[in-house]
Chain length 77, copies 6
């Protein structure tokens, strides 16, 4: 992951901010488990597990707090 | 999910803000498990599981922090 | 839940704020599991489960952060 | 719990603030499980359970964020 | 624990702040389980349990948010 | 860990901030389990466990909130 994958926390809309939060949650997993093969195998399991889906949704929620603050909540000018 | 589903974090009242937080928690799950068929199956299980209901309530709580801050806590003018 | 149940985050005292946080935690569960019959059944179980009581207390704590910020921590004028 | 048990979030020192956070974590449990008899029974179990002790410590940490902010982190002057 | 163990949230460096956060996480456990004998026994177990180590790391992270804010993130000048 | 490993929370870019958050999550584990031998053994297990990977990603998310705030979200000028 030597490339630039996070140049900025700024997004044009809240929805793009939510998508960025989702990406950050995935990168957090990737940095801990770099093998995409193993991640794919695990994904097949946890996508069928309600508890782990809720936990994933929670990580997204935490990142969305950060991205929202970074964008001043996309309040108009 | 190419449509616009989150144009703004602004809501008229705290109650609408809470409903938006609930929606955000659900979208977080949807982005991880896009199949509505599987989500419906999982929902049937976790709606009967106290631990997972509390975990869902926690994700809503985190999003409600974000939405509340975005709306300056709906303090009067 | 078409009625108004959350007109404001403002409370007169920290203690009332804590009670509001408790209410918000419960509504989060209610919006996920609307059947009061099932909720009552689950409550009978989780009220005897230390882990789930602690998890409930955590959701209250997160909402209490929100309510406290909304009230400027009830600092005197 | 009709009495006043939380008149203010202000404390003289960070240490008293931490003790208040601990109290808030306990009250969160109490409001969910009002029976002191059941709570005492559960306490006997979870005090021997590392996972639940860590979870309790986490709830205290969340409340300590709130109490610390309320006291402007006890910064001098 | 009648002694003063938390006179201030101010530390000279981020690293000392992280160490203070670690201390706060431990004190949160201590206030719930005062027996050092039982804590030592539990520690022997959870130090071998990845899930509980990650949970401990999470409590430290929450306290580090508080300590960092208290120190204005150790920004210069 | 007597050396300086956290001289500052300032980073040049959000991406470096995310890497710092990942480091802080690991140090939180290290301070609880100092033996690198045991940590390596545990890592082999939790890297194959979806729930623990998500939990690790959550700790990173919490630290990324702190690092992002410390850097004023890397907003320009």
């Amino acid at each position: 992951m030597a490339d630039t994958w996070l140049p900025s926390l700024t997004t044009a809309t809240p929805q793009e901010g939510f998508e960025l939060a989702t990406k950050l949650a995935r990168v957090g997993v990737k940095l801990t488990q770099p093998s995409s093969e193993i991640r794919d195998k695990l994904r097949a399991t946890y996508e069928q597990d309600a508890g782990q889906l809720i936990a994933s949704s929670q990580v997204i929620a935490i990142h969305f707090q950060t991205v929202s603050a970074a964008n001043n909540y996309w309040r108009e000018g």
